[in-house]
């Protein structure tokens, strides 16, 4: 897939609580390239003098009609925090689309579960939208620490059924996503997971124990994002492979978890 360096133009910057940011941008120079759920962009951080490298951020969704791409960003450190300085009309320099995305289910009859924790829910919206287009109504299982960390639920509900867990029980079922009752009640044909590593490991374990095909999206630290520097590797059954190029999405059978 051809990759581009684009000077996107920010059209909207919305804070979702204190820790999340929704950044929407258009491509003023032409049509956005075709992109797939699970792929990501390397964003240049212009507003921080302290950061050096780009930051990898998933595609939250792409709207080709509006020629816009959206990112959901959690404030973690200096790079992500400085994205809060963006304003409408700011330039957002992005290298995209990067990596290989989720494997789409083979037929619309499949029962699909999308599991997200924290900001790991970001790529699942795009996935949900594409699934809906092919006639699949996915179930989302979204986990957060507390009610205030559950963001954009309406956007997810527009694509499918949404199940929620919070660690403090302030919304949905109390506990971790892996403890949600839906996993006992329903049998799924495929599972896609993105979130903190312990959560992905636990879901991979669940998928293995039920014999369900499962893909997870990894968040290894990256430098080039292009498969050139070999900094982002994951130790897999095929040896060390680049998460930025061979992933970030991996079938759990490939991982050594």
């Amino acid at each position: 897939m051809k990759k581009y360096v684009l000077d996107l133009k920010v059209t909207s910057v919305e804070s979702l609580g204190e820790r999340y940011l929704l950044l929407v941008a258009i491509n003023p120079a032409g049509r956005l390239p075709k992109m797939f759920p699970g792929q990501f962009a390397q964003l240049r951080i212009d507003e921080s003098k302290e950061t050096f490298l780009r930051r990898p951020i998933s595609l939250h969704y792409v709207d080709y009609k509006k020629n816009e791409v959206c990112f959901l960003v959690q404030k973690v450190g200096k790079g992500t925090a400085s994205l809060w300085e963006k304003r409408p009309c700011s330039t957002l320099n992005a290298v995209l689309p990067l990596g290989s995305g989720f494997t789409m289910p083979t037929s619309p009859q499949k029962k699909v579960l999308l599991v997200g924790g924290g900001v790991g829910i970001a790529p699942l919206l795009f996935m949900g939208m594409e699934l809906k287009k092919m006639g699949v109504r996915p179930a989302f299982l979204l986990g957060a620490r507390s009610k205030t960390d559950l963001i954009r639920l309406d956007a997810y509900r527009a694509q499918g059924d949404v199940y929620v867990t919070t660690e403090d029980g302030s919304e949905g079922e109390m506990g971790f996503v892996t403890q949600h009752s839906i996993l006992q009640i329903e049998k799924f044909d495929c599972i896609y997971v993105c979130g903190p590593k312990p959560m992905m490991v636990a879901m991979a374990y669940y998928a293995k124990s039920t014999g369900t095909p499962c893909e997870v999206s990894l968040e290894n630290m990256m430098a080039c994002g292009l498969g050139a520097c070999l900094c982002c590797v994951e130790d897999t059954v095929d040896g060390n492979v680049c998460v930025c190029k061979e992933g970030p999405v991996f079938n759990i059978d490939k991982l050594k978890w």
């Binding site: 240049r44 050096f52 490298l53 290894n220 430098a223 292009l226 050139a228």
Partner: protein, 302 residues
């Protein structure tokens, strides 16, 4: 338009801009952003006689104006390179140069002799910053004897242009450069990364999997520039400047200091199209100041 051609021994470069090993893959990774035919050359990933898994993750840490890496020469070995990668890159219309690493002079020589057979690889760059297993893991490039032993062995096995890449982690870079010249190198390139460390204060642990790593990026440029200047003043062979070059101004500084060509490394990560922008920027500099050839500015800085 000024003439931007330069020569590194028998090698003709359409301009002095190359990309640095380990930062540009096999060139293929950057083809969406760069017309490789517009570059003076591409130095591909470090290649060893046998395949290497490299070091465990984490392999990088961001620093002020730079980064540390401890990739550890992950590659599938020279036979894999010849069989599977070479066919993909042999028709790229620029100088495709292979960076060669090893753990003993024999390893280096054997690897080099396999690459000698490849018609479309006109040169190799020897990375002598690798640990010498027979001598307690001390890098070849840190002693005159170590550097000499590798270059001599490779010189016998390799007939095309031999570039030797120097380590900056030494007391006297000029001593090593002179030794390498005497041992038969056609050119030297410098600098490789500077040894460094990063510590995570929350985990109270060193960030990189093996504790230390090589520092690269704009933060090393002043050190690199000084070393290039010093080496260019003592050796008779061409010098290729490397270290933190991020724009045409940086590149021109290295040329003025005495480099015949330059390599761009870490800057490719920030802007994947930077290499061709530097080519253009050097041209503009030459035209603006009325130089007829890039050769007219090489080493003119007192």
């Amino acid at each position: 338009m000024a003439d931007s051609r330069v020569n590194i021994a028998d090698l003709d470069l359409i301009n002095p801009v190359l990309t640095a090993s380990g930062t540009f893959g096999y060139g293929l990774e950057y083809q969406d952003f760069v017309d490789l035919g517009q570059l003076g050359g591409v130095i591909v990933k470090g290649t060893t006689l046998h395949s290497r898994e490299g070091n465990p993750y984490p392999r990088m840490a961001e620093t002020a104006q730079g980064m540390l890496n401890c990739v550890g020469l992950q590659n599938k070995g020279v036979d894999y390179f010849c069989a599977h990668i070479y066919p993909q890159i042999k028709d790229i219309r620029t100088n495709m140069i292979v960076n060669v690493s090893g753990n003993s002079p024999d390893d280096y020589a054997e690897c080099a002799s396999r690459i000698n057979e490849l018609d479309c690889i006109p040169a190799i760059e020897l990375n002598i910053s690798c640990p010498n297993v027979k001598h307690g893991g001390m890098a070849f490039g840190t002693t005159v004897e170590g550097a000499t032993s590798v270059v001599k062995a490779v010189r016998e096995a390799y007939r095309k242009t031999l570039i030797v890449k120097l380590s900056p982690n030494v007391t006297s870079i000029t001593d090593i450069a002179l030794a390498v010249q005497d041992a038969g190198a056609d050119a030297v390139s410098l600098i490789n990364t500077l040894m460094g460390m990063a510590i995570d204060i929350e985990k109270r642990k060193r960030v990189l999997s093996i504790g230390t790593g090589g520092l690269s990026g704009p933060c090393i440029k002043p050190v690199a520039l000084r070393m290039v200047y010093q080496v260019a003043h003592v050796v008779q062979i061409p010098v290729i400047g490397i270290g933190g070059i991020s724009n045409a101004k940086d590149a021109v500084e290295f040329l003025l200091a005495g480099a015949t060509a330059i390599e761009i490394g870490t800057a490719n990560f920030l802007d994947p199209a930077i290499s061709v922008k530097v080519v253009k920027g050097i041209d503009e500099y030459l035209d603006k100041h009325g130089f007829e050839s890039v050769k007219d500015i090489i080493g003119i800085c007192e």
